[in-house]
Amino acid sequence: MKVQGKRKIWHDYQKEIADDHYYYVRSCIRQNFFPASEYYFLKILKDVLGKDVFDDPKHTTCTGIGYHADIIPFETIQTVVARHFALMTEAGYKNFAVSCVTSFGIYSEITETWKEFPEELEKTRIALKKSTGREFKVPANITHTSDLIYKFKGDIAEKQVHELINKKTGKPLQIIEHVGCHYAKIFPSKGVGGAEFPNVLTGMIEEWGGEVVDYPERRHCCGFGFRQYLVQGNRGYSLANSKKKFESMKPYHPDAIICNCPGCTMFLDKWQYVLSETEGKTYGAYGSGIPVLTYEELAGLVLGYNPWDLGLQMHQVDSEPLLDKMGIEYDPEKKYLGKKDQYIGQPCNIVASL
């Protein structure tokens, strides 16, 4: 594999990412399963990088999961999106930062639709005004939150505490990057590095000392499939697609999987558990799983935050093998404790977890 070829592509796809002052919208899946990732994203941007981010309690879901599972009409989701733009406009912002990859795809698709079909924009303006009395401006800049961490990866590196290097061997960690389908497959030019060789996660991983594994099924979907996961009887589809990826990455002995999409992070984590339960298959070293992290968690570890503050205890696959390799100290006794170190229950079969 020749890296120069990829660098050429990365050079060609440089999207515009605003430098400061963002209106932030949360993700349904990320705040449920990786709440600390959203918390640390804001903390890193505000406290470490000194940026202005507005976290508005008035916004809601974009309804994207419902939309892609076909229970939300296009008119409805356009108007919900328009309401978020109105909130942004009212708050005095013009840069829109999105935590969810599916939402990012939705915002991109709708703003593109409005360019091509201005009558849809007009209909939406009227519908929003009628239903909420609000008016909006289309954002000047729409970014996924991973774009922002990518943009400031160098500033984070300057404050780096832990490198993505195996402390024992001194070699770079071998990391799988999994970019959510809706990040760049819908509009390749809206993703850093494009759709085929996205650079958004690769850039962070390399900047912080790791090496990226390019494996044959790298581009394949995690298998969420919206209704294919939401309906219990269809989940075999979702599982089979993730399995296809695990089988393909296994020969490379990856140390971790990093995702920019909250759904992918969750599925690549949980499906390893299901495959271990149903087929007795594991994909990491010594019968363990491959730790799956969000890019915020990765940035947090790099900056030296406590793994349990970052929420790694919410993952089904244990992250400890990765922490050990990076030489990060942690207190196993405190993994499942509460805010004041009190006992708050713990997963029932942590022994059997991966």
């Binding site: 959203e38 918390y39 508005d56 309690p57 009409p73 639709t113 697609n241």
Partner: protein, 228 residues
């Protein structure tokens, strides 16, 4: 009555999604659904392109249109700029509007999606919410999730969340005013009506299948369709 094809054309996503297919198969080659279901996006585009209402009606009543996982990988690759994923979205919309979705096993599952995601949106302001992710319905979420589910306040507090509280932050309580706005948008833009249509046709089907109770409880129907 207007033709089904014209009905599809009324949606801008259909116009955007359908150009002219040359049967190259690049969409099917990398389609996650084509690998695991008897599904071929290339064939769907060709069937729709025939503009034959009998063929389209067959699609709208079939399992086929419900296999797509909406990953949109097809959009990246199509050498003719078609978007099979968008065509599917419009077929699914029309199938539900006309009540055809209850004619297929996979289509009938839309009630499950509406009851889970749809109702959650209007109740909590988000598509997913810890209270609705019951471990017995989500065994794949594993013990870690079960722990979170059983101790949401403590776990989310530990992780600096704002679970069910006023103000900003993760999993904060969405205020009644905001939920009111969301509902007003749904009422204005056909979202509420769409939910009602799904409920109405599902009830009719459940009655026909003998799976509705006298007070129109559809639990048995839901249990049945989600395992199909």
């Amino acid at each position: 009555m207007k033709s089904l094809y014209n009905r599809l054309c009324e949606d801008v996503r259909f116009i955007e999604g359908i150009k002219a297919c040359m049967n190259c198969g690049v969409c099917t080659a990398i389609c996650p659904a084509a690998e695991f279901y008897d599904y071929d996006p290339r064939v769907i585009v060709n069937q729709v392109m025939q503009k034959d209402d009998t063929v389209i009606e067959g699609l709208l009543k079939s399992d086929t249109i419900w296999y797509c996982g909406q990953c949109m990988s097809c959009k990246t690759r199509c050498p003719r700029d078609n978007v099979p994923g968008l065509i599917i979205s419009v077929l699914r919309k029309v199938s539900q509007e006309l009540g055809y979705f209850t004619e297929s096993k996979k289509g009938r599952q839309q009630l499950v999606v509406k009851r889970n995601v749809g109702d959650t949106i209007l109740k909590y302001g988000y598509c997913v919410y810890p209270r609705t992710l019951k471990p017995e319905l989500h065994p794949e979420q594993g013990p870690a999730w079960e722990w979170v589910y059983n101790h949401p306040h403590e776990v989310y507090e530990r992780l600096n969340g704002n679970f069910e509280q006023e103000g900003a932050g993760t999993l904060r309580k969405t205020s009644p005013e905001v939920l009111g706005e969301l509902k007003a948008i749904f009422d204005e833009t056909g979202g509420t009506e769409f939910f009602e249509i799904i409920e109405k046709y599902s009830l009719e089907k459940a009655q026909k299948m003998g799976m509705a109770t006298s007070d129109n409880n559809l639990d048995a129907y839901i249990n049945h369709v989600q395992s199909q």
